[in-house]
Symmetry: C2
Subunit: 400 residues, 2 copies
């Protein structure tokens, strides 16, 4: 954090650490580092279909998509992953028409087993091609309606642990099974999150960094109510979306004093949004923090060629620069120009490369950060009472 702050902490680092340690006994996502992933890998091996179609929404898909989007172009994957989440009829039809349904495995994911969009889309798919034990997998909570449907029809089911919330579920069966099926190395994913877990719970560097950062966000929540993540790789746009849900839905709450809390997440992509959002960051109201995410090694030799073009000689200095170097220098220029402002809090996260460990570690760090900020704000990170009212209204509208 490039920002000086002085305040009187009401919770010491030690107290916070103990709080989180205590919480990690009940809240399931912490302990996913210890889960047995062999059943997931075995199941993945047994899948014959080439197209893996995930039917789910929000926490059931965003994390999986984040990892898949980041890695899919860099790895030789055996299978293709699709996500059906929107009820927009035109999008839905066009997405489905691009998939060979005969050669597809449908993975229906809903923690509660009662997600209206998911059931609606699944019913529609089932009217196009019979969904049964040969082409369907269900991932849901123990004893949900969806699990009863699966049991009745002998459809293979994986259970989501009760104490793992949707938006914290990417490293559970929810994310790991689809990712393993398409050929992403889930051992490496677990390694990535275990490194962070170990560092955190033995109070190493990650612990110190996250505590400091969370304290800053919480302390300055009224000065900086917007937290921008500026990712310098367009394949981190899935991560951005996942971050937006994690941060928004976990931290937008009423606290123990009945006061509204809420830090607003924004995810943008450098270098594209350098040409749009950066103006607002630099000259606009000082209501934002910025976290720049860089990828250290893109493992790409793609270069700007050294051809000279008549009239464009001014750009000859670009010749032979790799695009990897260009994008990272764009990130550095953004960081420098923000830091030159002196009054805009900015920190930088550099992940090592385009691989499982890097993206998983980044995401797990963000989960931990979210949990700590929530504790500082005296709110419950793991519920979402604010969306229930809308669901009830919708049900009434649909029934009439």
């Amino acid at each position: 954090m490039n920002y000086t702050h002085n305040f009187n902490p009401t919770i010491s680092d030690e107290e916070m650490f103990n709080e989180i340690k205590k919480e990690s006994g009940n809240i399931g996502y912490y302990n996913l580092v210890h889960q047995d992933i062999n059943p997931f890998k075995e199941y993945a091996k047994s899948v014959k279909q080439t197209n893996i179609v995930v039917i789910g929404i929000g926490g059931s898909t965003l994390g999986t998509y984040a990892i898949y989007k980041f890695l899919k172009h860099s790895k030789k994957l055996d299978k293709k992953l699709y996500f059906l989440e929107s009820t927009d009829p035109i999008e839905l039809k066009s997405k489905i028409s691009a998939i060979d349904l005969e050669n597809s495995l449908f993975i229906v994911i809903s923690k509660s087993g009662t997600t209206l969009e998911t059931i609606s889309i699944f019913k529609y798919i089932n009217s196009l091609i019979k969904c049964d034990k040969n082409n369907t997998l269900v991932i849901t909570e123990y004893n949900s309606k969806l699990s009863i449907y699966a049991k009745t029809n002998n459809i293979k089911t994986f259970e989501i642990p009760k104490n793992v919330g949707g938006r914290f579920s990417v490293f559970s069966v929810v994310g790991l099974v689809p990712l393993a099926i398409v050929g992403i190395d889930i051992d490496e994913i677990i390694k990535g999150i275990k490194d962070i877990y170990d560092e955190f719970f033995t109070k190493q560097k990650v612990y110190i960094k996250l505590l400091k950062k969370a304290r800053f966000f919480a302390e300055y929540k009224n000065n900086f109510n917007i937290n921008v993540v500026f990712s310098y790789s367009s394949r981190l746009d899935g991560f951005n979306k996942w971050y937006i849900q994690l941060w928004g839905e976990s931290l937008g709450k009423v606290d123990i004093n009945s006061t509204r809390q809420g830090l607003t997440p924004i995810g943008i992509i450098g270098p594209i949004d350098q040409h749009s959002f950066l103006q607002l960051i630099v000259e606009g109201k000082r209501d934002k923090t910025v976290t720049v995410i860089k990828v250290d090694d893109f493992d790409s030799e793609l270069k700007i060629p050294n051809d000279k073009l008549d009239g464009l000689e001014e750009f000859d200095y670009l010749q032979n620069i790799t695009f990897a170097s260009l994008i990272n220098k764009q990130a550095d220029a953004t960081i420098e120009s923000i830091n030159n402002l002196d009054d805009l809090p900015c920190d930088v996260i550099t992940i090592a490369g385009v691989n499982e460990q890097s993206i998983a570690g980044l995401m797990y760090e963000y989960e931990l950060l979210t949990s700590i900020v929530a504790k500082f704000l005296y709110i419950n990170a793991y519920d979402q009472p604010g969306v229930e009212a809308g669901k009830i209204i919708l049900k009434e509208k649909l029934k009439n």
Copy 2:
């Protein structure tokens, strides 16, 4: 606007109207309703290639993408439009590998003619396939470096009017030429914006609505520094991105009293983000306005089938509901649950259908709204001084 406000306006509606009228003499985008689009249509007819590859970034692509994304699945389009904008090497390579370059027209768009990303990507493309007058079109400002390059190589060039800024340029040659080439009816686009223009400048309904809304945003800028657009169609995500640039880059400025101004745009997609961002809106800090965008007629009969599934009987009430009706009821439920809160400003825009006129009208309304809000905030909507510093730093980094 579902919010009661009482304040003492410093600029009357009449004064504002006269300001905008005066401005429309100098600022080019207002008058695009009167431009001659026949040369664009003629050129479009002459294009033989099937793949239309736009190389550009920010204002050179976002508006075009917004319209294309909204319409492409609903119209029978002759050609396919691609956008190369990111310098992310892995994304760039994978995007290019999916395009048949031999059957492509490359449209290089940069207003200044010196956009580093655009030139870099163009140079790279030119090393893969010779770009010349047979497969290249340049769209740029009069006498820019890029126009000199084009002239030297006899490459067809369209000029962007000097007084039309990048983020306000979608209805100029920048957007209309690529869209006309792929088969989108640009006469209908012009009709869509002309309707709004006429209504506005004859002080009809649109004028009254926009003035009221702009006044609200400006007056309550410190209470509600975040303006959420909640679009109920996943094909409006291009629109959301365009809105974010338009709003952020136009309104994030230092005003005439050297005070930082800035309204932060957020674009989310219903029903997907009902499962993430809505919690923050409903229970979080009251720092947001919400504008819900609905599509009245999706022109789609896609239905939830009336099959009964064992275990899922609870959902039988969904049977025979069209997805179009479902998504619109989801929107209505969100609107109702927000309005029930009583302290969260929310307005609704309903566009008629999935067609050129609807999307163009919506976008033109947002351009007008942006101009008016800027005037209320005493800032210049049309410059972007805040990004220049970063560009200079980047150039230095690349030269060394």
